[in-house]
């Protein structure tokens, strides 16, 4: 989880990602940041995020992103 928060702060510094509840829909990070975010997450957690995963439900908060990461890790 900490690594994830580090990545998030790297992509968009100055945001309290621990408590943000609506990251994608409120456009805290925009579509451009998503790309960088995804590439960093893919590298860090050795998963492959696909466009199918890029939905608001997965990117609501740091928690939901982490859930998605875990799910993708287990899906292998």
């Amino acid at each position: 989880m900490d690594e994830l928060l580090k990545i998030l702060n790297n992509v968009k510094p100055g945001v309290d990602f621990e408590h943000e509840e609506n990251i994608m829909e409120d456009e805290i990070i925009d579509s451009f940041d998503i790309v960088t975010l995804v590439s960093m997450i893919n590298d860090e957690f050795d998963i492959e995020i696909t466009p199918a995963d890029l939905v608001p439900e997965n990117f609501k908060s740091a928690k939901t992103i982490y859930n998605m990461i875990e799910r993708l890790q287990n899906e292998v």
Binding site: V11, F32, I34, S39, V55
Partner: protein, 526 residues
């Protein structure tokens, strides 16, 4: 059958009656049959194309789902994780091929019908050959339903949506008539169930829906069709106009296309609402946008989201782009450019797609690239801009600053509209240059500049009043007011006066019909 015609209104009325009396189980078939009748009335034999597309995506979706199911069953019987992964990947590859076939097949039809002439012509010019150039009549809504069809199979591929076993349901999704003319581009998960489930025809839906339609007709017929006279007059003869007249024509065209497009969407959304089916909004007061970025999230919204979900994200997460992302991260570390370089590729694809989608011709490609350039430059100079703002201690929350941002965005958009509307690139460049040619100012002061294309003073008065009303409603909506709801709470007398006012504004002030030219009615005694 145009949507702004009495025939369309009669069509809707008859359809509502039939839908109401149909038993619940079959209500959706009314919509399906009506959609095909509507299609046939508009494109007759070309209906074959939408049928072919529908059938293709139906089978592609079913096939992909079968591949998945087979793989799941096989995977159950395998213990080894490596084997499981291999199986999964094989299935994924198979699915991908089927998907690719589906996409390419449908895109090919669209490209061939819409762009073959342009492609052949361009090849002829570049390679000095002589390919035959065909110009085809396009089947109604092909640019819209093709995107919708592709979104369905991609969503099935991604597991977002289950393949529909009922081909008639798929057919209804693709051919649903309100969205054939100019969108909005719907998604299967939002739309399919709505279309299929029976709805009660409620008084509220009927009134809200028809009010929305009236508002759409008002925008289209009183504003758009009227200002179009002026715009057409100037653009058809652009060499003879300069300076402020060109500016007015460009702004006029922007107003025209906004009123026409959003008005058309209102009409179809209103019509759809009467059946209890909600189509997504396609416009959210785009001229409030403070950046071109934001503009394209408020203008033709469904095209933007389609490009985001089916072009931008897939390209951004593709192997090529990820490689590029890693590469730029290594080179630029965490600097700003680490982010910019990787999005340049997907963004280019989006804007080329956007440009191409709008039309067949060089100017449309330039149109797309124009916005691409603005966005890329905007992104590149973002840190510079931020620095300047902090240095000059500019208050970005001040309404005057926000106004500047909106006007600046309008400016960019208007220039984009110039490229879009001008006869061709040359004309656009000519017209842009002539903006700075300001030597006929007296035409403004004596009013001549306004009376082009058959516009009369009466027309201008009507246009201004109607536009002011339009702006007023937009401001109210931007501040969160739900117009129809608050309208419904007013007293009956007021509501009826406004409704009659709106209806007769459309009938009397609408720019339709042959017009009454007293000259042609003079009986010269022979």
């Amino acid at each position: 059958m145009l949507i702004n015609s009495i025939q369309f209104i009669l069509f809707i009325i008859i359809l509502l009656l039939i839908y109401k009396i149909m038993p619940k189980k079959y209500k959706w078939t009314v919509l399906l049959i009506a959609s095909y009748i509507f299609y046939f009335l508009n494109s007759s034999k070309l209906i074959a194309f939408i049928l072919v597309s529908t059938i293709s995506i139906y089978f592609v979706a079913i096939k992909m789902q079968k591949i998945d199911e087979k793989a799941k069953i096989q995977a159950k019987n395998i213990e080894d994780k490596e084997e499981k992964k291999k199986l999964k990947n094989k299935a994924k590859k198979k699915k991908k091929i089927v998907l690719a076939v589906g996409i390419i097949f449908n895109l090919a039809i669209l490209v061939f019908l819409k762009y073959s002439g342009f492609i052949a012509g361009s090849l002829n010019t570049i390679l000095h050959i002589n390919l035959p150039i065909f110009k085809f009549i396009l089947p109604l809504g092909i640019s819209y339903y093709t995107l919708q069809a592709i979104s369905y199979i991609v969503d099935v591929y991604r597991g977002k949506v289950e393949a529909d076993k009922n081909i008639a349901r798929v057919a209804l999704f693709v051919a649903y008539f309100p969205q054939l003319v100019q969108g909005p581009i719907g998604r299967y998960d939002e739309l399919a169930n709505q279309l299929y489930n029976p709805h009660e025809i409620t008084f509220k839906n009927l009134t809200y829906g028809s009010e929305l339609m009236l508002w759409g007709y008002f925008k289209k017929m009183v504003i758009a069709d009227r200002v179009a006279m002026y715009v057409n007059g100037v653009f058809a003869d652009y060499a003879n106009y300069s300076g402020p007249i060109i500016i007015m024509a460009i702004i006029g065209y922007t107003l025209q296309i906004y009123a026409e497009f959003s008005g058309g969407i209102d009409i179809v959304r209103g019509a759809s609402q009467m059946f209890g089916i909600e189509l997504v909004e396609n416009f959210k007061r785009p001229f409030y946008s403070k950046s071109v970025d934001e503009f394209w999230r408020r203008w033709n919204i469904t095209l933007g989201t389609w490009l985001k979900d089916y072009v931008f994200y897939p390209v951004s997460l593709s192997k090529v782009t990820l490689k590029l992302t890693n590469f730029s991260r290594k080179i630029f570390k965490t600097s700003y450019f680490a982010k910019i370089v990787p999005i340049s590729l997907p963004l280019l694809c989006v804007w080329l797609g956007n440009g191409f989608w709008h039309g067949s011709g060089l100017k449309y490609i330039v149109y797309g690239l124009y916005y691409y350039a603005i966005m890329m430059l905007g992104k590149i100079f973002e840190p510079v801009g931020k620095k300047i703002i902090s240095l000059l201690k500019i208050n970005v929350e001040a309404w005057s600053y926000k106004l500047w941002q909106m006007l600046r965005t309008c400016g960019f958009v208007c220039i984009g509209m110039l490229i879009f509307r001008a006869e061709n690139l040359n004309a656009a460049i000519q017209m842009f240059k002539s903006i700075f040619n300001v030597h006929n100012l007296e035409r403004i002061f004596n009013g001549e500049a306004f009376l082009i294309g058959g516009m009369t003073i009466a027309d201008i008065v009507v246009l201004i009043i109607a536009t002011v009303i339009f702006i007023g409603i937009s401001i109210a909506k931007e501040h969160g007011k739900n117009i129809r709801e608050s309208f419904a709470k007013q007293n009956l007398a007021f509501r009826w006066v406004i409704l009659y006012g709106l209806i007769f504004a459309i009938i009397v002030f609408g720019a339709y019909g042959q017009g009454y030219n007293p000259q042609s009615f003079i009986y010269g005694q022979f």
